[in-house]
């Protein structure tokens, strides 16, 4: 048995717990942004997925994502690890040589959980709960698991190509963001939504709390992806905080220029955009580059929000603009700023004399966009055959807390 490092194991398990906390944190973040009659439904989306994918991952998800490559195609893992058969406490040298294989599995599980939860922001306030359950299960199996295999799986084709994605810019953020746009388009607009009309968040302190929990958990998301308690984890930790902070400052400033006030919600949106963009780059770039990535992503994502406003798509909580576009910016910036000075096991980017890496990143981004978009459309159409995607107009007007869960968030007394 390979020698297990106590430090590495402790850090990866702690990171798994940090990433787990991001999912209920996301529930708060989204929950505060919707109207009060839908807050429980929104929070339930995140909480339910935490439970659903925890089991799906153990049963077949981990095997599909990280299992032995099926027929050597580089597309999907096989089912030899079904039910965690063969996933022992001994290290798996292909993934992490100094921690128990189950620790690696648990860490990756938390990524598989939060990714479909991110999509829920796009169809908030109108999706039928049964349809949401079926969609989430199919999406995790047929979109997330294959994409994770492509980028991180042993023998995955994007991994073999040399695509750099430290903690999930493509696998998590582009996939969820693009899928969110498709889902919002297929479901249609909320009945009360008119182009250009803003729906006021019902609880901005809840939004800030959710953002803070996400930021805290993201240290596990990025720094934990070093899979060791070492210098690279430290580098990723520093980059994560730096990019988030700069992006929040930038977004707040842009909204100040645009609307005359420094927006609290805007600052939280900026922080999340920065965290998204640094996700693929965290283990490859310098802290100074993190500042520039934070600046650029807020500029681009703020513009994407304005663009979405003009599109005929009601992505309720701007998942595409922040995660889809932000993840794309981050993946491209990785191809620009990556340096082997930070991570000798990776590659240099364009600015350090290696233009091919940028091309590889563009291919990874394109593949993620196309695969996620097409598969999400197909899954939604399949789900709609069995369960209507949307609630009725009456149920939507009543609010999903009552119509889907027969509960209200805030007692009137």
């Amino acid at each position: 048995m390979d020698k297990i490092s106590a430090g590495d194991t402790a850090w990866v398990l702690a990171s798994a717990a940090l990433v787990m906390l991001m999912t209920p944190g996301l529930g708060f973040f989204y929950g505060g942004l919707v109207r009060r009659k839908n807050v429980l439904s929104t929070v339930m989306h995140s909480f339910f997925i935490l439970c659903l994918i925890s089991v799906q991952w153990v049963l077949w998800g981990y095997s599909l994502a990280f299992g032995p490559d099926f027929k050597g195609w580089g597309i999907i893992g096989d089912l030899s690890w079904i039910g965690l058969n063969g996933v022992t406490l001994a290290p798996d040298k292909d993934y992490a040589a100094t921690i128990p294989h189950q620790a690696y599995m648990a860490f990756q599980m938390m990524f598989a959980i939060i990714t479909p939860a991110l999509i829920s922001g796009a169809f908030a306030e109108r999706k039928r709960f049964k349809a949401f359950v079926l969609f989430s299960l199919l999406w995790a199996t047929f979109v997330y698991d294959p994409l994770a295999h492509w980028v991180w799986g042993h023998g995955g084709w994007l991994s073999n190509l040399g695509a750099l994605d430290f903690a999930g810019g493509t696998v998590v953020h582009i996939s969820s963001g693009v899928s969110a746009l498709v889902a919002a388009w297929v479901l249609g607009k909320r009945i009360t939504h008119k182009p250009g009309e803003e729906v006021e968040p019902h609880d901005i302190p809840m939004v800030v709390l959710g953002c803070a929990l996400l930021w805290f958990g993201w240290f596990g998301f990025n720094a934990g992806s070093a899979l060791a308690a070492n210098g690279l984890a430290t580098s990723a930790f520093v980059n994560t905080n730096t990019a988030a902070a700069m992006a929040a400052l930038t977004w707040m400033t842009i909204s100040w220029m645009h609307k005359g006030v420094p927006s609290v919600v805007g600052a939280t949106a900026g922080a999340v955009a920065g965290l998204v963009a640094i996700t693929p780059a965290a283990g490859y770039v310098t802290p100074a580059a993190s500042i520039l990535i934070g600046l650029v992503v807020s500029l681009v994502c703020y513009g994407a929000v304005q663009l979405r406003d003009r599109m005929n798509v009601d992505d309720a909580l701007d998942v595409w603009a922040v995660h889809g576009v932000g993840g794309t910016v981050g993946a491209i910036c990785t191809g620009l700023f990556a340096t082997t000075v930070i991570n000798s096991g990776a590659a240099n980017g364009l600015f350090y004399g290696n233009p091919k890496q940028l091309l590889i990143q563009v291919i990874a981004v394109g593949a993620s966009w196309v695969f996620s978009g097409v598969m999400t459309f197909v899954i939604l159409k399949v789900v709609n055959v069995f369960v209507p995607l949307r609630v009725s107009e009456k149920e939507e007007a009543m609010g999903l807390d009552l119509s889907q869960h027969s509960e209200i968030a805030y007692s009137p007394s």
Binding site: T253, A288, I291, L292, G353
Partner: protein, 57 residues
């Protein structure tokens, strides 16, 4: 073959010093802007003016 070659292409004279300089300039620009931007909102949101939001009614 599209494999990364880690710098076989000619460099563009970019180094860490340029990154640090650019990030300093970006941060300075933000800080300066906060002292230039207006202190009062150009257009008030409904909850600032006291108009009832339909959901709150």
């Amino acid at each position: 073959m599209l494999q990364s070659d880690n710098g076989a292409a000619p460099g563009i004279g970019y180094d860490l010093g340029m990154e640090i300089a650019a990030s300093l300039i970006a941060f300075a620009a933000l800080v300066v802007s906060w002292f230039v931007l207006p202190a009062s909102p150009r257009q008030a949101a409904p909850h600032v003016t006291g108009e009832l939001i339909p959901e709150a009614a």
